[in-house]
């Protein structure tokens, strides 16, 4: 907009224009982390309000989420009971659809799949910008009757059960696993436990571990497709040769999820125990 154009703007419209421009600038520059659910949902599939509701009201939700994964679906659920559950963005309280999109954008580098939000106001669903018509149809038939933490957990449980039973959670897995290998010491002639953690939204992966001495491959170990939970470290055992090569040792891990998505290769050095 040029100065000449601005000069022709009716005087009454100017304050509004300025306000809108300020709001747009603020929205463009402001940013956020600080909502607890985004961090929690990276490594588990449900976020429960703080303080956590009694076990009897949360256990069914945990079971229904686990059942969805057992059937090959993926879903993450955030139960938001109060503004405190939103940390630095309390203004999104009772805006489940907006928060679903917001949260989905925060975790999009590690999870793209159905993301269900339950607030006293109702449900929100987001799937990385892909269509959610099937999920919405199911959620439209449900309502949140009880806005207490336990009531919200029960509503979330009912929603996940219905979404699973109707097949509405069908969603293409497009992200590969992320790997966190740990360094360790190699003792000549002894078995070495090569340990790594896997962050994979489908919770299933297979891995290839390659041990190198400089550029030379010393061993290649493969693990079959199995459960991959971030909290449970994976270990493969490599028997080190009696005489270790002079070149620096390292091992690299590559993982593949059930949908065929690959991780980046992650490598760490291996120490040599002398004497």
């Amino acid at each position: 907009m040029t100065a000449a154009t601005l000069a022709r703007v009716p005087r009454r419209a100017l304050p509004l224009l300025v306000a809108v421009a300020a709001a747009a600038t603020l929205a463009a520059t402001a940013a956020a982390d600080g909502d607890p659910a985004s961090d929690i949902l990276l490594t588990q599939n449900y976020y429960l309000p703080y303080p956590e509701p009694p076990k009897e009201s949360t256990a069914p939700l945990k079971e229904s989420v686990a059942a969805a994964f057992a059937k090959g679906y993926r879903v993450k659920v955030a139960v938001i009971a109060t503004k405190t559950d939103l940390g630095t963005i309390p203004e999104l309280f009772n805006k489940p659809t907006q928060y679903a999109k917001f949260l989905g954008s925060e975790i999009k580098m590690l999870y793209v799949g159905p993301l269900l939000i339950v607030m006293p106001e109702g449900f929100g669903i987001w799937d990385g910008g892909r269509t959610t018509t099937a999920e919405e149809r199911v959620l439209d038939s449900l309502s949140v009757k009880d806005g207490s933490p336990g009531g919200l957990a029960a509503a979330a449980d009912e929603a996940v059960r219905k979404l699973t039973s109707t097949g509405a959670l069908k969603s293409k897995d497009v992200l590969g696993p992320t790997l966190f290998p740990r360094t360790t010491l190699v003792v000549p002639g002894k078995p070495v436990k090569l340990t790594y953690a896997i962050l994979e939204d489908s919770e299933r992966s297979r891995e290839t571990v390659t041990v190198y001495a400089g550029g030379k491959v010393l061993a290649k170990l493969r693990s079959p497709l199995g459960q991959a939970l971030y909290g449970k470290a994976h270990t493969v055992t490599w028997k080190a040769p009696k005489k270790l090569p002079r070149a620096a040792l390292r091992y690299c891990v590559r993982a593949f999820d059930a949908a065929g998505n690959r991780s980046r290769t992650a490598c760490v050095p291996l120490g040599k125990k002398v004497g």
């Binding site: 224009l17 940013a31 405190t84 917001f102 975790i107």
Partner: protein, 191 residues
């Protein structure tokens, strides 16, 4: 022209109202964005400077956010927690001693012992991650574009490691792209 301007103003207003108040910042992918919670010495409960691993004590909350290259670096659960502990999903439940600074969830909420006078430097020491003008956890920068800190939304002009961890402090650390810092955080009751 007036009609066109009205349409523009209405359109902009609609966009501004529909957009969330704060655009989200994605959490980074890869080990540097998910640093481990504790070095081996902390897991063994060894002293870190003047800080000792001890039993239960009353605590208050401090919220710390870390951003590098425009993405979130996760402040993990288990900072300041020695073995033994139980990991349940994203949470860590201590079964032994803990330090005057600890995290039990990966939400950036640091639980600080009420009797202690601690700083951000203490937190990074217990975490086992570097913090200086040119280093922030696994990331490096230059003196020309140093690490920035914001306390309650305001730029901190002093030494980064000296930032006091007072009750309900909201601390944001940034390396690289500017991310508008939040001035406050809603702490759960009891912290």
């Amino acid at each position: 022209m007036v009609r066109r301007m009205r349409a523009v103003v209405t359109g902009l207003a609609a966009v501004a109202l529909a957009a969330p108040p704060y655009p989200p910042t994605p959490i980074g992918r890869g080990p540097r964005f998910h640093p481990p919670p504790a070095p081996e010495s902390v897991l063994r409960g060894e002293p870190v400077g003047d800080l000792r691993c001890a039993g239960a004590r009353p605590r208050f909350g401090v919220h710390v956010e870390v951003f590098a290259r425009g993405l979130v670096v996760v402040v993990p659960s288990g900072i300041g927690v020695a073995r033994p502990f139980v990991r349940t999903g994203a949470f860590v439940r201590p079964r032994g001693c803990t330090y005057a600074l600890r995290t039990r969830a990966p939400t950036g909420v640091v639980e600080v012992a009420r009797s202690a006078r601690l700083t951000l430097g203490d937190l990074f020491d217990v975490w086992g991650q570097p913090l200086s003008r040119t280093r922030l956890a696994g990331f490096r920068t230059t003196q020309a574009r140093p690490v920035r800190a914001y306390v309650a939304g305001r730029l901190w002009r002093g030494e980064l490691r000296a930032i006091p961890l007072t009750r309900h402090a909201q601390v944001v650390l940034e390396l690289g792209a500017y991310i508008r810092p939040h001035p406050r955080f809603l702490f759960p009751r009891g912290l």
